[in-house]
Amino acid sequence: MFQVAKATFLRNTLVMLRAYPWSFVIGHILAGVYTVLFAYFAYTHVFAGQLDDRFVRYAGSADYLSYVILGGAFYSFAVSTLMNVSRSLITELREGTLEAMLLTPSSRKGYFLGNVTQQLMRTLFEFSVILLVGRLFGLNLAGADVWSAAAVWLLSTGAFFCQALVLGSVMLRFRDTYITQNTLFVLMAFLSGVTYPTAYLPEWLQPLSQLLPLTPALEAFRHSAILGQPLSASAPQLMHMAILSAVYVAVGAVGIRRMEKRVLESIFG
């Protein structure tokens, strides 16, 4: 498995250095930066720095700018991970290399592991740029528990990876990337507490937000980065992520295998 992961990591790095569509990276950074700018201007100029009482109760902090900037950065990180992993097989299909890959006895886990570790480099870069820009607009990480935040970040990668397997199988099923991924990304931005706590959502929508790994991941990350809490303080969120990951990875693994078969049958059938 690790040999396949290493080979796929190397292959993707070579392709990225030669011909990666850098517009994707810039696009992800801009999406995060726009979230930061929009929140900054709305907060300072529209609401004149006023928050209702509920925000502190829901978020545990009155620092809305740090809240929203981390939300934007983390959202961008989630989108990048989901996109890069979920599109990997459908990209192979479109470029005509899927058959050659499926002919080999290689481990599919290794293949996805190689994809996700390679894209970590890109998402780390994107995340760092958004945080740097966020610093200019009021991001305050003075009290952050850096190690705890880094651990949440890494664990979240795993959770997004598991979710990406399901997204990838849906993409293969419908042979579509654009509508599928963008529908999910809009739902994530709206439901996962990126710019406001999920408690503001109508009650009937709140259970839906709990199905998205971004929701507990963001909560745990903010606990560490804004409130400076240790990892143990986010145990419920981490447990929540672990359960979602287990469900997503089980559904995704079966889904990918079934969709691979279905795609091959539909090519020749």
């Binding site: 470029e95 058959e99 499926l102 002919l103 091959l264 020749f268």
Partner: protein, 328 residues
């Protein structure tokens, strides 16, 4: 030993229905097909479009699962032990797919080699050997997107050999290639069977390629096996007619009448067409050799002969006959 026994493949195809109803149609692409491949032999799989050739190859390579029947490769079942089977087989298809265009030729082979579990010096040696075999050593470090069609096809061959497969499946391997490159590929295929003992199954629309390479040929039609023999024996058993083509400058009515009688006497057929050079091309087909009577007839009519060609039946005629029967 590669054994295909009574294999059947049925596709379920969704038909156009309304938004709320689904209708499925079952299409039998392969029906009760059985054949075997032995080390060092080249087997041809022929048939008209839609005969089930590609589906058969994909099932043999574990890309598709048979609906029923079994495929056994050196004792391993292709469905239950697909990983073991994948290590023993590989496939080379015509066209320019199945390669990463942004990687170099060497990087492609290194990546695919890694997917087959090769690493370190073993992988490096294998890649170098294959680059030499397909004569791509000089272009090894050039991205594939800058390769010509022939170079891509040669790299495909190297990719198909990266795991040193015992059983190799070639699906239209020379499709769209220039004649010299196609000839070079055919030479390499022969060498793989003769010198390395690989069992090769070949499908091709270029029938002369199959005649040149294959020790035995399976002909399938609508997924069913309709004939199996050596190319020579198949040709003799299906097409006994010899074709005579004669070009003459003038075609008087009397000669036409005598030609018709000659063909009828020998239970043959005849046809005539005007050529671009304002001459007539006569085509006579018969199981008997009509060369001598035809020349006598032309001499009797004092007709000069501009061109005379005798064509023996070929495997292509077998396929054409089958296609004609199919559409009849």
């Amino acid at each position: 030993m590669f054994l295909v026994e009574n294999v059947r493949k049925v596709y379920r195809i969704r038909e156009r229905g309304s938004w709320f109803s689904r209708q499925w149609k079952e299409v039998e692409a392969v029906s009760g097909l059985s054949f075997a491949m032995r080390p060092g032999s080249i087997v041809g799989l022929l048939g008209v479009n839609g005969a089930g050739k590609t589906t058969t190859i994909k099932m043999c390579c574990t890309l598709l699962e048979p609906t029923s029947g079994s495929i056994t490769v050196d004792g391993y079942d292709a469905v239950r032990c697909d990983r073991q089977v994948k290590a023993l087989v590989n496939m080379i298809a015509g066209g320019e797919r199945m390669l990463y265009w942004r990687l170099t030729g060497r990087e492609n082979l290194q990546y695919f080699g890694s997917l087959y579990g090769l690493s370190g010096s073993r992988l490096a040696e294998r890649v170098d050997t294959l680059l030499d075999l397909v004569e791509l050593r000089e272009a090894a470090d050039t991205p594939v997107e800058r390769y010509s069609k022939g170079m891509k096809q040669r790299l495909q061959i190297a990719r198909g050999l990266i795991n040193d497969p015992k059983y190799l499946f070639l699906d239209e391997p020379t499709l769209g290639l220039d004649a010299p490159i196609a000839r070079q590929l055919r030479r390499q295929v022969k060498q793989l069977a003769a010198e390395q003992g690989k069992a090769i199954l070949l499908t091709s629309h270029y029938i002369h390629e199959v005649e040149e390479l294959c020790d035995e040929v399976y002909i399938i039609d609508k997924g069913r096996l309709v004939a199996h023999d050596t190319p020579e024996r198949l040709t003799r058993s299906f097409c006994r007619e010899t074709t005579l083509r004669v070009t003459i400058p003038v075609l008087p009515d009397a000669l036409q009448r005598d030609l018709r009688q000659l063909a009828e006497r020998h239970r043959g057929t005849w046809d005539v067409a005007e050529t671009d050079q304002q001459a007539w091309e006569l085509t006579l087909r018969s199981e008997a050799d009509l060369t001598a009577p035809l020349l006598s007839l032309l001499a009797a009519h004092q007709s000069p002969v501009l061109r005379l060609v005798t064509e023996q039946p070929s495997l292509e005629d077998v396929i054409l006959q089958m296609a004609e029967r199919r559409s009849a």
